[in-house]
């Protein structure tokens, strides 16, 4: 059975044609929260990178990104010092700062052929100044005022393609073939 990848426009229009022919269709939706290093700061377009301006700098998109100040990454429980490499597209490293995201996939099957649309919704950064206890050297601890980066999940409504009630949407976890 072939599976066709569609962009949002193609997917919605294909679905609309089925709905308008008075047929009912079941759409499966898979949502998966991921933080696998797929997205890093160097890949972000300038408009999106601006959100990290207080913490990071780079020459241009796809260039290595460095820490502008010391900061604490609350989600990954990691402390970055000034001028640490935060992301390098050429030398990916598991200590680099990764942006979590939710992978959303919509698919429906019609006459044995499957049509699929997939997209990732990025978490939004939230930067604040906070007092944190940091470890210096082997055992010395110091409380200091430091930038703290947190990631906020996108609103649930942004994960949906809004479809008419004649479309039945099933949330599924995984696709397996018998």
């Amino acid at each position: 059975m072939p599976t066709y990848d569609c962009n949002e426009h193609q997917f919605v229009e294909n679905l609309r044609r089925i709905i308008e022919s008075k047929l009912r269709v079941v759409v499966n939706r898979m949502m998966m929260q991921r933080d696998d290093g797929k997205y890093g700061l160097s890949q972000l377009p300038d408009q999106e990178f601006k959100k990290y301006d207080a913490l990071a700098y780079r020459k241009h998109q796809r260039a290595t990104v460095y820490a502008k100040v010391h900061f604490y990454d609350q989600l990954h429980k990691r402390l970055y010092m000034q001028d640490d490499i935060l992301h390098s597209p050429k030398n990916p490293n598991r200590y680099h700062l990764s942006i979590p995201y939710i992978n959303v996939e919509y698919r429906f099957t019609f006459w044995g052929e499957t049509y699929r649309h997939e997209f990732d919704v990025l978490y939004e950064p939230q930067i604040r100044l906070d007092r944190k206890e940091i470890v210096i050297g082997k055992s010395e601890k110091k409380t200091t005022l430091i930038h703290v980066l947190n990631f906020v999940p996108p609103p649930e409504r942004m994960l949906e393609i809004h479809l008419p009630p004649s479309t039945i949407v099933f949330d599924v976890r995984r696709l397996s073939r018998a």
Binding site: N7, E8, V12, P45, Q47, F119, L122, P154, R157
Partner: protein
């Protein structure tokens, strides 16, 4: 008007070359309001997606803000000598290193 009745609603997706501001202005004129925004990656592109609602009606506007990969059109297609292929390959890989 107020978003219409649920059973009157239709589904439609439209690609556009119109400026986003023009579409947004029309939505506001029709009584829609911006509910939320998110950054979405789809089709190897970054999009800023905005969600507008008016009663039961929902409209999303996706504005492309950049590409995920550095691959862009035109893809180079060659029917030529090995030297030509190598020469063009070296230019393309050099450009990749610069960017």
């Amino acid at each position: 008007m107020g978003g219409g009745r649920k059973r009157d609603l239709r589904l439609k997706s439209m690609p556009s070359i119109a400026p986003l501001a023009a579409v947004e202005a029309k939505l506001l004129e029709l009584g829609f309001s911006l509910i939320s925004e998110a950054t979405v990656v789809s089709d190897t592109r970054f999009w800023r997606r905005r969600l507008y609602t008016n009663g039961y009606e929902v409209v999303t506007l996706s504005d492309e803000i950049g590409r995920l990969y550095n691959l862009k059109d035109p893809v180079v297609t060659i029917y030529g000598k090995e030297e030509t292929i190598e020469a063009l390959r070296s230019v393309l890989s050099l450009w990749d290193k610069v960017s």
